[in-house]
């Protein structure tokens, strides 16, 4: 079968993309104005000290040489020294990235499980009230800036109603689960630590909902339009004539086909999600990559900047690889097209 060829082909094609991405990010970080060595040492440092640091950081070498030095480091898990934390950027990212990953993943799960059924219901009842309601809801979601929606949720649900905590990643729980994956939900489950799991979940809900609003709308709209198109196909009429229940037609047959276009938008939305996660993390004091990344940009901490962008970019590539694989799962013809006979 074509499964393996298809996977290998798609997998290999992410490598040049990743290389291109790294060149781009690396170059951009070096050519933006600002002198990192001077900033790191402060205005009163001597020119000699600055020059020494530049040499130490390799900033005096030609750009291509710097790039290969950097890549050599990346391969060994060394992303360079951060000027702010004085630690290796890789160590910093290991600490902050899991929190961001947990948040964006849950937000995406919410977005898919709310957005897709919303789109299906709207598509089934095209131009009637469920469709209009869903469209209005989507419209609101898209137009709300995430930081504003986040503050609103904090005000109402956290402060007025007091149902959920407003900020942070976990409450006062002892003992905390041992860090194995860095994902609190997973770690606490692995340790059977129920209080930590509950607290982590409570803290996760509001920021995840905030983050999922815009993708929900995107996914619902995309699912709706592709569902409507697919709902008109001959085989749907055939199934209906054979007396197959409408629910089975909609969710087993039509959705499976129209989900391909939802997948496309899910892949794209994941990039968007990583972007707006920066804002949402700051609103909810979420200890993810956001504050680290923002600080890095403000301080011209180039290694940290490149590290953060590289991780975000790599996650985006990985998600889109997963999307490519899922295309094949949902529409087996994709595997066959991969076969070159």
């Amino acid at each position: 079968m074509g499964h393996r060829n298809y996977l290998i082909k798609r997998g290999l094609s992410t490598i040049p993309m990743f290389v291109g991405l790294s060149v781009l990010i690396f170059t951009l970080a070096r050519v933006i104005p600002g002198r990192p060595a001077r900033l790191a040492l402060g205005p009163r440092a001597s020119d000699e000290a600055v020059q020494n640091l530049r040499e130490q950081m390799g900033l005096d070498k030609p750009l291509w040489e710097q790039y290969f030095d950097y890549v050599g480091g990346v391969i060994q898990g060394d992303l360079g020294q951060s000027l702010i934390s004085n630690r290796n950027v890789a160590t910093d990212l290991m600490e902050y990235f899991p929190a961001t990953f947990e948040l964006t993943t849950l937000a995406m799960i919410i977005a898919v499980f709310v957005g897709v059924p919303l789109g299906v219901v709207a598509g089934q009842h095209k131009d009637r009230w469920p469709d209009n309601a869903s469209r209005l809801f989507s419209f609101f979601n898209v137009s709300l800036p995430p930081f504003w929606a986040g503050i609103l949720l904090q005000l109402v649900i956290a402060f007025q109603l007091g149902w959920l905590p407003a900020t942070g990643r976990v409450g006062d729980v002892s003992p905390m689960p041992i860090e194995t994956t860095g994902l609190l939900l997973v770690d606490s489950l692995l340790a059977f630590n129920v209080p930590a799991f509950v607290s982590a979940t409570q803290h996760l809900i509001l920021p995840a909902i905030t983050l999922s609003l815009a993708p929900i709308a995107d996914i619902a709209r995309m699912t709706r339009s592709s569902f409507i198109e697919e709902y008109d196909k001959d085989y749907v009429e055939g199934l209906r004539t054979h007396g197959i229940p409408e629910r089975l037609i909609a969710y087993k047959y039509v959705l499976r086909r129209s989900f391909a276009s939802s997948l496309t938008i899910i892949g794209l939305d994941y990039g968007f999600l990583l972007g707006s996660a920066f804002v949402v993390e700051i609103v909810f004091s979420w200890p993810g990559m956001a504050s680290y990344g923002v600080e890095a940009i403000l301080q011209k901490d180039i290694n940290a900047m490149v590290g953060v962008t590289l991780v975000v970019g790599a996650s985006f590539l990985l998600v889109n690889f997963a999307v490519d694989v899922l295309y094949g799962v949902f529409d087996p013809r994709v595997w066959h097209d991969g076969d070159s006979q």
């Binding site: 001959d234 055939g238 004539t241 089975l248 086909r257 013809r333």
Partner: protein
């Protein structure tokens, strides 16, 4: 003869669209006796499929609307009672579709779709749990359904029926897919079958195979069938009786031999004349095209294209169906009720245009 198993009386269907109201079916009368195959023949757009959908209860409403008439199946009125219609349709009727390329879901193996048809055709609803089980392939009595599917595919002369069940439609040829579609229609042992141009999309040799498989099955199970086609040749091969339809009206009914031996209605004669023959390459055919349904011609709907149209009669007086001979019916002003078959045939030869036995030299028909 006993009551017909299916009778459609005076069925009128209209469609509401942007351009206005389309009067598509205008008083269609149709009967199918038990064990009989009736072919419904007419040009594309004449209302054949609308008739089929009305019988199957799948006419999209809106925009479609049944404005008058009744459909009776085995003594049960279908149009008055939607539940009875759904039940009769689920238990007794089944349908074979036109295009094997588009009537199978591309993302499931054909066996999965057949199993769904076998399981749910009775019309019962499915719970979310039931659907989950279905998606995970854990439906009830799946072994039995699989066996039934394999047996049917085998009857349809599909090589390797078991392997075929697990294949996707893209992996099958058009002929194989059409066999699967036929098998799917037969899986619940229907007593009444509607075939909507099932061989149109196939090439001629495959068409013949499908037709003979279908005929075999119909005879073996004593099925009643309404076979819809635009191809008189196919109708001749499969049907006991032929109904000719034009612009939403049945214009002529007769047994297959009679229709071919002595076509009465000018439209039927024109249709027969349009069949390409091995001798004499140019038929005369029929000029013009199916009328606009928003504003159909007054009087007889065929009169603007009719070589025998009589000014002052055909364009004014609505035409009624006249019984001719024993079991012919023709809706044309040339004929009168109670005419004997011989008289009618003479009228047809003299007046109705269309095929003649002598080679045509001058412009046929001419001015009436």
């Amino acid at each position: 003869m006993a009551d017909p198993i299916l009778s459609v009386d005076d069925l009128s269907v209209e469609f509401e669209t942007y351009e206005g109201r389309h009067h598509v079916l205008d008083g269609v009368d149709l009967t199918v006796e038990e064990g009989e195959t009736v072919a419904l023949v007419g040009e594309t757009g004449c209302g054949k499929s609308v008739t089929a959908k009305s019988i199957m209860g799948t006419l999209p409403r809106p925009p479609g609307e049944i404005t008058s008439g009744s459909i009776t199946y085995d003594g049960t009125g279908l149009l008055a009672d939607a539940d009875a219609h759904a039940r009769v349709q689920g238990e007794e009727m089944s349908m074979i579709f036109q295009d094997p390329m588009t009537y199978l879901s591309p993302v499931y193996p054909v066996g999965s779709m057949m199993a769904d048809v076998a399981t749910y055709s009775g019309g019962e609803d499915v719970s979310w749990l039931g659907m989950l089980k279905n998606l995970l392939g854990r439906r009830a009595n799946r072994g039995e359904i699989r066996e039934r599917s394999i047996e049917l595919l085998d009857r349809m002369r599909i090589p390797d029926p078991e392997g075929t069940l697990d294949r996707y439609p893209v992996e099958l040829s058009g002929g194989m897919r059409q066999r699967v579609i036929v098998a799917m229609a037969l899986i619940n042992d229907p007593t009444f079958l509607i075939a909507d141009e099932p061989t149109t999309a196939l090439d001629v040799t495959v068409q013949d195979q499908i037709l003979s498989l279908l005929r075999e099955r119909v005879e073996e199970r004593d099925l009643s069938m309404l076979y819809i086609t635009h191809n008189l040749g196919v109708a001749r091969e499969i049907a006991d009786r032929i109904c000719i339809m034009y612009a939403g009206e049945i214009v002529e009914v007769g047994t297959t031999e009679e229709i071919f031996d002595a076509p009465l209605h000018p439209y039927t004669r024109g249709l027969l004349d349009s069949i390409p023959k091995l001798t004499g390459f140019e038929g005369d055919g029929i000029d013009g095209q199916i009328p606009d349904y928003t504003d159909p011609p007054t009087g007889c709907r065929f009169h603007p294209r009719c070589p025998a149209a009589m000014a002052g009669t055909c364009d004014v007086e609505p035409v009624e169906s006249h019984a001719v001979g024993d079991d012919r019916a023709v809706a044309c002003h040339l004929y009168e009720d109670g005419m004997s078959f011989g008289e009618a045939a003479t009228v047809a030869e003299e007046e109705a245009g269309g095929p003649t036995d002598e080679p045509v030299t001058a412009e046929a028909g001419g001015e009436p």
